[in-house]
Symmetry: D2
Subunit: 430 residues, 4 copies
């Protein structure tokens, strides 16, 4: 990453001047916070040159007349704990906070904007959403895959939508930016505000994405099971595959929390399997010393082992990763057969169990606050932004910044060092 | 099953007359319960001819002198919630209830009796076991596979063991019976008492096996995730594979509890995949009507689809089942591709996550009570028996009866009818 | 208790001959089970004279025409985990199983039948109830207190109700019996079927009441906290008050499960506080030996200490118990002040936290099955009965039998002996 | 609060130059982070004048020779989730990270340093602490109350302790500062490093204290029960008292998370009970409109209602708060009796249940990281400091700053505004 940004790079676009007095009774009191906050950049060597983002809060003046505005919410891509909390908070804030009465949910992600799929909009009220945060998933449904930006904006126009609140990952944020560009080029007054969703926690300038903590929670349960299995058999090996296509945040955080893990393999840190320092040899030594081992592997780790294989893509155009879990299982089994050493390998792939659960308490509050902030920004006429938390402060980023690069786990970061401290694992490089 | 049994078939063998006054202060009071209870046989058409088992409780007189007795505990086979609760209760009851001081744990199942593996016995005291019930697995370790009965009894003799408490499934109970026969033929005074362990709940004359409820608990979590995934995508299908090699108790009970399941496939009820009434066609109709579906499949279901494939066996000699989950996933995917109908299939195989967790409260109490009953029986000099609960009463069965056949889920049983009521699924037979 | 009953005492009343073919497709298959089962009486000394209850299942022929019947459900008294599961299962079974379309919920218990309260009936459909089992409490609301039986039956008549499904405790069952008598004397064809609800598990001939297991689950959490507090301070005492007005089932079961409890005080077993064998002296010895102690006290324990105080009654006419927890806290504090011994007493009264939670998996299945059985009985024209589980078999009891006496925890029962084994507590009697 | 501080006010004291190469293999890589970070002050009106704290991480050079150092850990005051995680991480980091072999736990808080109590030090090794994070409380025990600073330092000298790691709240931090002063005046080389513990989350310049999130988790369970009770009875009121002596963080955060709360009363925001705008009148209107209400009250709220009563103090000299929960219960009951309006008030005081539970996953990781940071600081010879997290960055504060004032919940803060948004409650002031 190459901060700091110039002020203009972090400036948030608006649809126009916000001149309507906000109906939020509390707006008066909180205006003192409306300054721009300075956020330090943790790895920045030039001290004193902080990155600045605009903070996020209810504004004193708003752009849209709540009695005339129509807002819609869409959820895209894979499931993530907290989606329903975000939806609920958006509806509650629009309805109770601002008095907006025309709120719709778009069915099944971006498909919901495309007439041929015939998914009708769902009217949303406080009553329809009041208990949804107790369920995982998204009541609106989701889908993967790109859709025509023009058709989407056509639908927005045809349905007289003024506020588009869009919840999704990397691909969705790219779509959101294109939608905002199209809206802008048609000179429409539609606020496009995104809430970044990534269970992998890999979006730039977003300290923590909603659902991540809950995913780690679920992951630790799977690790505990792997540990139990490993301990219960002679030369027991418990191996868990966790989410993390390009970043090892879930694997590393879960391993640092659940301190029974011995080896963590993530996309950001390369490793050899064979050779004197290779993983298999180190694993063997561990078993000889302690007779059990727990391995956590992020799904995106070790993809170089499949370099010569064909690449497969899903509907969203994401490369389908090769199954490193299955590969490791096979390599470990073969290795110890060759060594004539009996092992008991138990491989756990919790997959969807990690992501389909309801948000835990803390994630629930966080998701809801992001949803509220998205509403505050949109009602104030801001557009082309994502809501974020950065060093503990809720703020707003131009979508462009959020998708400028993937956030990844730096090998000299606090978290990875914690993992190394807790596991004691060496580098696995020959 | 063909009850009723004659009285001699349910009689429990003893090592000799119990003449030592039990140190359990409570023994006096409870003797009134020491009658033989009559247990009705639920599917018995000849009413009035009940099955009789001996009840299980602390006896007034015991056979072994607590100050001289040496007991050992061994856990065999796959993990099951409650193993540590059983171990803990045995140690506590021997130590605090009877004053026994010489208690050992055998490492890694029957391997622990075989000198070549060099697993030393672990001395067990209340202190070593006081918190173990909060962990899943077994602190003693386990293993699969048969071992020489002679060598096992040699070890029992060499270590001066008087009481062998053995926890395991079908194969282990068979081994326990052989051990008891060998002990008996050598004229040794060693009580062999088994606590039946089967996460599948498939042991005869055992209403409920420990750990089963907890497994169902865990399974329902996985089903909830499958339901969430199914609901969140157009034509979403959530499919969960659950344990159950020869019986569908876990699948059926979890489905009956977690009432979002639409299809349950178990070993006891055959089904067709193709054809007008076949599963795939019915699934298609369900999707057309409701646009999502949840499937639960027991691992032992539909094994006839692999009839022509080679049979594989694990170390214990159990046939390795073919992967019905993977097979269904492939068949469903192909079928809807042919139908040109887009689906979103999410397959969850929670595997070890179901069985490696600690026992829940109710299972914890149940496991502990079984452990205590095993101790009471052994201290009274009874042998060759398993402890059981039958129609709500703790009782004792000759090992022979418990392994006489597998308990399976009868298609006209209350439970399966509940499943049919709850899912509304048809027969899937052409 | 004085079993056995003569056959006529356990016979279930019917409104008339059931001649309509049941629409439940499964009815045919299950008729083989329709025999009368014999249930042994566990404490019965005269072996061979079992009690017989009628089993409960879908009948082949039903009494009411599903297209014409109107059913209503009412929940009364204190909350209990599983109420919503019972409601849900009743609606699902009536609607999907039998095709009944006219189903109503009565608001706020028996108040809902009394015109002056102006609580309208709530129409119930599968959609309204599909997710309610994930919440604690009752969606229908509840209330305490007697209401005019005549007015209730007037309302049943006026609303053309044919099936009254009533869920409640001792007082409610008495009301249900009176309602059935009034219905009968007016020669109405209204089936009155009750599902017994008592978190205290104290209804006769009901092995286990729904919600009890979940309550024990919650109670063990509170006990764990008490144990943690006790361990963490010098002479730490953790004391938990649990539900149990006349029976100590929750206290005893939770203590037997959560094996860190040292003293359990229940209504069924008297104890002295003072004197050489009294509780305070024993507690002191425990602290001197181990420096911490955990006490569980049922709310109905030790009521004799308040003998001379005035009696207070709640709206249902139940005597309001004096607060034994507060009394013990005061007596313990004073006692150790007098002994000049510093203690750290932490008193936990989890109260409603025990009962307001959703049912756990196992209780959920159990509650649902009771609800289904109530529907099967009512549709078959049976009346004046409660559904029960007795020795593992679902059966039907005349309401009269269920309220003939309170079930209490016998001091020589398996459960209490388990508590004594696990705590090692003496008798506390001088 | 009146930031910013001058640099010297945030400077951390050291025992001397750290010249020993750190055995932590990772030290080399991470030195790039060792700059001083700038932390913005969120409510600061003069933008551009940030507060600076030193960041916390393993140092390249350390002060103490790991083979010669003796460290001890002490936990003081009330229980808090995560205490055992902190202890565990300290031991693991000292032992595995630095190779320290002489590590002791002090029993029962500061009492453990005072010879007359005769509490021996407990040797701590990785084995003794490996599973303790699964239990609530502190394995070392705790106590309240001041002890002689001289005697404490005498004990440190006598036991040759070089590192004192002290975990506790406000009072304990004050003691820690005095100990450091005494150590300094005696010219001893003992590093005194504190980990601030406050379940109320009320320590200055500590964004979040360990255990707080878990406490909020537990609190939301109690609120859910209150909500269930309130919904289930006519004019049902569920009231929960939560911790928070001087700050309403737990009450406000739990209410913002669990969005069923209608009224939140905290110490920082005054309220009237009587009068037209008073709480009772508003509560009445709520019941008339919606027929149920949920109230959350922090224990320190409304203490002015007891102004004329005598003040009571606990052993640590803290004022014992008057019971606002009991007071509100009585006032509400009386008020509605006078209004002749029937209500159903259920009062829940979860008390110790909130704080005695094990840390949740996220708190577990956080607690452990604080413990590791305390070790890094101490090994580097830093002293008189607390470890903190501030705007997402782990840092170090002079103890003096941390205790300079209580952190409280500002009525115009994000969190309180969230509560107002979610509850819609008015000001309750006449």
């Amino acid at each position: 990453m190459k901060p700091p940004f110039a002020a203009k790079e972090t400036a948030i676009k608006t649809l126009g001047k916000a001149k309507i007095k906000s109906p939020l009774a509390i707006a008066e009191e909180i205006q003192v916070n409306q300054q721009i906050l300075f956020h330090p950049y943790p790895n920045d060597k030039q001290k004193g040159t902080p990155v600045a983002f605009e903070t996020s809060q209810p504004e004193k003046e708003i752009y849209f007349d709540p009695t005339k505005v129509t807002a819609c919410i869409v959820t895209c891509g894979g499931l993530c704990p907290g989606l329903n909390n975000v939806i609920r908070a958006i509806v509650m804030s629009l309805y109770h906070g601002y008095g907006v009465r025309s709120i719709f949910g778009v069915r099944y992600g971006l498909q919901g904007f495309i007439p041929k799929y015939q998914h009708a909009l769902i009217p949303l009220t406080p009553q329809t959403v009041s208990d949804i945060h107790e369920q995982g998933g998204t009541i609106l449904g989701s889908s993967r895959g790109a859709q025509s930006i023009e058709t989407i904006v056509d639908t927005l126009e045809r349905q007289n939508i003024n506020i588009l609140l869009i919840i999704g990952g990397d691909g969705t944020l790219r779509a959101a930016e294109k939608i905002e560009n199209e809206v802008s080029s048609r000179n429409l007054k539609i606020a496009v505000v995104a809430i970044p969703k990534t269970i992998d926690n890999d979006i730039s300038f977003v300290s923590r994405s909603f659902g991540f903590e809950t995913a780690v929670d679920s992951a630790t349960n799977a690790i505990q099971c792997a540990h139990t299995e490993a301990l219960s058999y002679p030369n027991g090996i418990g191996m868990v595959k966790l989410m993390g296509r390009y970043s090892g945040f879930i694997a590393a955080t879960a391993a640092a929390s659940q301190r029974d893990v011995n080896f963590v393999l993530i996309p950001e840190v390369d490793f050899d399997l064979d050779g004197k320092n290779g993983f298999l040899e180190v694993l063997k030594k561990r078993l000889q010393a302690r007779s059990h081992a727990v391995i956590v592997v992020a799904e995106g780790a070790g993809q170089r082992f499949f370099e010569n294989e064909d690449k497969d893509r899903d509907e969203s155009g994401n490369v389908r990763l090769k199954d490193i879990g299955g590969y490791l299982k096979q390599r470990i089994t073969e290795y110890f057969e060759n060594q004539n050493m009996q092992i008991n390998l138990k491989y756990i792939d919790p997959s969807y169990i990690i992501r389909s659960v309801p948000a835990n308490t803390n994630d629930g509050l966080f998701s809801a606050t992001l949803g509220q902030n998205a509403v505050h920004a949109a009602m104030a006429g801001k557009t082309g932004l994502v809501v974020s938390i950065w060093h503990g402060v809720y703020c707003q980023l131009p979508i462009r910044l959020a998708i400028s690069q993937k956030k990844s786990l730096h090998p000299s970061s606090r978290l990875w060092i914690s993992v190394l401290e807790s596991t004691g694992q060496p580098s696995f490089k020959n």
